[in-house]
């Protein structure tokens, strides 16, 4: 029987951390480097440059004037956020080498982006979390699912059937635990460790279904937990809590948010999704 760790080892070479993310990361951590160095590294990859400028000029950032150069984009977005952005912008293409027959990539990334948008919106509301980091966490929160679907398709299908057979009383991650002994949070968390992603991302990915397990980034993890269910509401165009996985009451407490925030968050994500989908999944 495999473990979450085995699966992540299995996909080495099939999915790799985006090169531009590694380079920018190295520079961000190097005290001797300047934002000019970072801009230069970002400029090495023409398709990244193009998409970075499109993002910088999109409604996502709402800058008052046009952002025409990478240097200006880096200056405005900030050197530490540019690293998250590099990861967010490349992760969809990184996972193209890991196809599966259970969920279309379009549908998978649509949910991830709705969660990312919602997480960013909620982070801005509460004011004590980094909205850009939460955007990336939202985008990556289900990444373990793509690995499970690709490596263990039969068991993954069995888990999804179990969810439907239970009239959704059993959630996907619970079915995975029953069938596999671990869930997509565990696998995503392992991948985050393998990739040396920041601990905040690792914890949000690993614990978004079980926020009691989070230790150091409890508020952020709780926020991703809420954003996940709100993203499903946005997808289903429903405000009925019975249509989506239950909200853990502890998540409201940890974030200081109340259910009043749900409807505006759903509307905001729905309004932004089409543009963001073009920006982040590389579709024109």
């Amino acid at each position: 029987m495999s473990t979450a760790n085995d699966l992540v080892k299995d996909i080495r070479g099939l999915v790799t951390l985006p090169h531009v993310y590694i380079q920018i990361g190295r520079l961000v951590e190097d005290p001797k480097s300047s934002s000019a160095d970072i801009a230069k590294a970002a400029s090495q990859d023409p398709s990244f440059t193009l998409r970075l400028l499109r993002v910088a000029n999109s409604a996502l950032y709402r800058f008052p004037s046009a952002v025409e150069t990478v240097a200006k984009a880096v200056a405005i977005i900030g050197t530490s956020q540019i690293r998250n952005l590099a990861l967010s912008m490349s992760v969809a293409s990184s996972f193209e080498g890991l196809p599966n027959e259970l969920v279309s990539m379009d549908n998978f990334w649509r949910h991830s982006l709705l969660c990312a948008l919602t997480a960013r919106h909620l982070a801005r509301l509460i004011g004590r979390c980094d909205p850009d980091a939460l955007f990336t966490a939202g985008l990556l929160h289900d990444i373990g699912e793509l690995i499970i679907f690709n490596r263990l398709p039969e068991q993954a299908k069995e888990s999804l059937l179990m969810v439907l057979d239970s009239d959704e009383q059993i959630q996907v991650h619970q079915a995975e635990q029953k069938v596999l002994g671990f869930d997509h949070g565990d696998v995503g968390g392992e991948l985050a460790r393998e990739w040396h992603l920041p601990p905040l991302l690792e914890e949000c990915i690993a614990c978004h279904h079980d926020i009691a397990r989070s230790r150091h980034h409890r508020r952020e993890t709780a926020l991703i937990h809420l954003a996940n269910a709100i993203a499903i509401m946005a997808e289903l165009n429903s405000l009925d809590p019975l249509d989506v996985p239950p909200f853990d009451p502890a998540a409201w407490e940890l974030t200081g948010l109340t259910p009043d925030c749900i409807e505006p968050a759903v509307r905001e994500a729905q309004a932004a999704i089409n543009e963001v989908e073009r920006l982040f999944t590389g579709r024109q």
């Binding site: 279309s104 949910h111 299908k157 999804l160 439907l164 009239d167 959704e168 289903l236 019975l242």
Partner: protein, 209 residues
């Protein structure tokens, strides 16, 4: 406290029933091509992609049930006059599904003049697919009109798969939209069902009441 499992009506003993813990009811779960009729206070549930579930009950006695079907795509073998009338050979499967359910209700004491109907499903859950969901919706609406059956509620079409839970005793139905994560598993199930009915053509008689 969980009450004892109510007895299943004759012919429906094979349908799996489970206890719903959070909402405290028994639910009989039907798959594509199946149907279930009950006189007890229990639910019937199913998961729908482009298939249709018709929920029918005698609104006086509360005897009722649910089916789950779809029309297979036209094979091209049917006559032109059928095609012109929009009645491909596939509609036979729809007729069978509807008549089986209605006859099951009448056989167990339901009265035709008391029947009321709810219909769910017919979603377009896969992109780039001919809209078989719409074809199923059109069929069932036409069927109800021809049979003069009263449609009291529907939730059909759109792009979502659905979970339908129906309580024949009260006539209440709950339809839950399902996220796209479930699209492929549901359409694999439906595809397998369509292949099985194409391999095994329907034959023989329907008892009419």
């Amino acid at each position: 406290m969980r009450p004892p499992l109510p007895p299943a009506l004759q012919g429906f003993e094979h349908v799996r029933r489970t206890w719903n813990d959070s909402q405290e009811f028994y639910s009989a779960r039907i798959l594509p091509g199946e149907y279930y009729v009950t006189r007890s206070d229990e639910a019937i549930s199913t998961t729908l992609g482009s298939c249709i579930a018709a929920c029918i009950r005698d609104r006086v006695s509360g005897i009722g049930g649910m089916n789950h079907f779809m029309l297979p795509a036209s094979t091209g073998a049917e006559s032109d006059s059928w095609k012109a009338a929009g009645l491909g050979i596939g509609t036979r499967y729809g007729n069978f599904a509807m008549e089986h359910l209605i006859n099951g209700i009448l056989r167990n004491g339901g009265l035709r003049q008391n029947l009321e109907v709810k219909i769910f499903g017919g979603g377009r859950i896969l992109a780039n697919m001919t809209d078989v969901g719409m074809r199923n919706i059109r069929f069932v609406r036409e069927y109800l009109k021809m049979e003069n059956l009263r449609l009291v509620a529907e939730d059909v079409g759109d792009t979502y798969p659905r979970m339908a839970i129906y309580f024949p005793a009260s006539g209440k139905a709950r339809v839950k939209r399902l996220r796209s994560l479930h699209n492929n598993v549901i359409s694999i199930q439906e595809k397998r069902y369509v292949e099985s009915i194409i391999e095994k053509p329907v034959a023989g008689d329907i008892e009419l009441f």
